[in-house]
Amino acid sequence: MSCSFEALVALHVEGDLDESERQRVESHLRTCPDCWDLAEDLRESQAIFKSIRQDVPNQAMLSAVRARVLEGVAGMESGGWFSRFFTFGFRQRATLAGVALLIIGGGALWLARGPEAPVVPPPPAAVRLQAVTESAPPPVERPPAVKPRVRRQRPATVLQNQEPQQQMTIRLVTDDPNVIIYWLGDEKGD
């Protein structure tokens, strides 16, 4: 059977409808034999289902739980942070584990970061410029000169720690993509 009142009938048998719904379902039951049978079946099945109310845990289960609880409480009272960690709820444990993983993962990535590729000093700017202008078409118009931006390449931190006298490279980038000026020197700026 399939009647739009089925869901309401299932609520009606246990008195879960408000007054107006109850009246509507009861008047429907008087005219729909299928729903009438359904209500009868539901009353019977509910009575059988409710028989599991009689079930109670046996004494051994209760005693085992009580013993574990009291042991856990004793651990919480006397234990340090380690035992407290294990009495945390799942969410707290998951959060702590997540934070720990982030820290460990971040640290591992930081340590695994290899030294940057050594910077090969290019030939002098004038030479390069000349070489480029031979093959490239003549520039249409040079854009207005802008103060060159200075990018200072930082050497790898690990190497910096190990070799304080490491060579430092300063690269001057001009607006002309073909012109890059490099300065090589040590950390002192010599």
Binding site: E6, A7, L8, A10, L11, V13, E14, D16, L38, D41, L42, E44, S45, Q46, I48, F49, K50, S51, I52, R53, Q54, D55, V56, P57, N58, M61, L62, A64, V65, R66, R68, V69, L70, G72, V73, A74, M76, E77, T87, G89, F90
Partner: protein, 202 residues
């Protein structure tokens, strides 16, 4: 006026509220015996509910332990003028819902009827066998429900809470809970009809 099951559950005998407040205060103050008394008073209900929601003795015991440890941890924040049992029931439902168990495992172990004992055990062995068989079938049918349907019908029809109380515990709208209960009852009816002899109910 007739009291509902849940009202009876929350009602207090004269002097009981004071005694409960005293026990809770003692437990908060670190009196281990007072906390043990709380466990003794409520362990049956917590464990039974956990068993009905989870379906295995092992999971139910784990959940009950977790409930009481949480209770111990958060007891300081509990308003001792209120009854303790609804608080523990809510906590039990939350712990069981978060247990993350697998349905196949529930299906497998719900049928192990050795862990709960009926009140009529020890009578006629044939009648007992029939009862055990019926119980096994009911738990299996219950395990076949979706988690929310199972929780809703257990709280409403077995634990005897009102729909409004179930909705509050589940953090759902009352209309949603009514729908879950209705669906669950119809499914249980079909399962029970099959149990009774395969009568076609479709």
């Amino acid at each position: 006026m007739e009291l509902s099951a849940s009202q009876l559950w929350m009602s207090k005998a004269p002097g009981e509220a004071e005694r409960t407040a005293e026990i809770i205060a003692g437990a908060i103050a670190g009196d281990r015996a007072a906390f043990e008394e709380i466990v003794l008073l409520h362990e049956r209900r917590v464990l039974t509910l956990a068993f009905r929601l989870l379906g295995t003795a092992e999971d139910a015991q784990d959940a009950a332990q977790e409930v009481f440890l949480r209770a111990f941890k958060y007891l300081r924040g509990f308003d001792s003028s209120k009854p303790l049992e609804p608080w523990l029931v809510r906590m039990t439902v939350n712990v069981c819902r978060g247990a993350g168990r697998k349905r196949s495992r529930i299906r497998e172990l719900f049928v192990n009827g050795d862990n709960l004992q009926g009140e009529d055990s020890g009578k006629n062995p044939y009648a007992q066998l029939r009862t055990e068989e019926q119980k096994r079938f009911l738990y299996e049918a219950l395990a076949g429900l979706a988690e929310k349907e199972r929780t809703a019908i257990v709280l409403r029809d077995i634990e005897g809470l009102t729909t409004a109380e179930v909705a509050e515990i589940l953090g759902s709208a009352e209309a949603t809970v009514r729908s879950q209960i209705s669906v669950a009852r119809l499914k249980m009816r079909k399962a029970i009809a099959r149990m009774k002899g395969g009568r076609d109910v479709l």
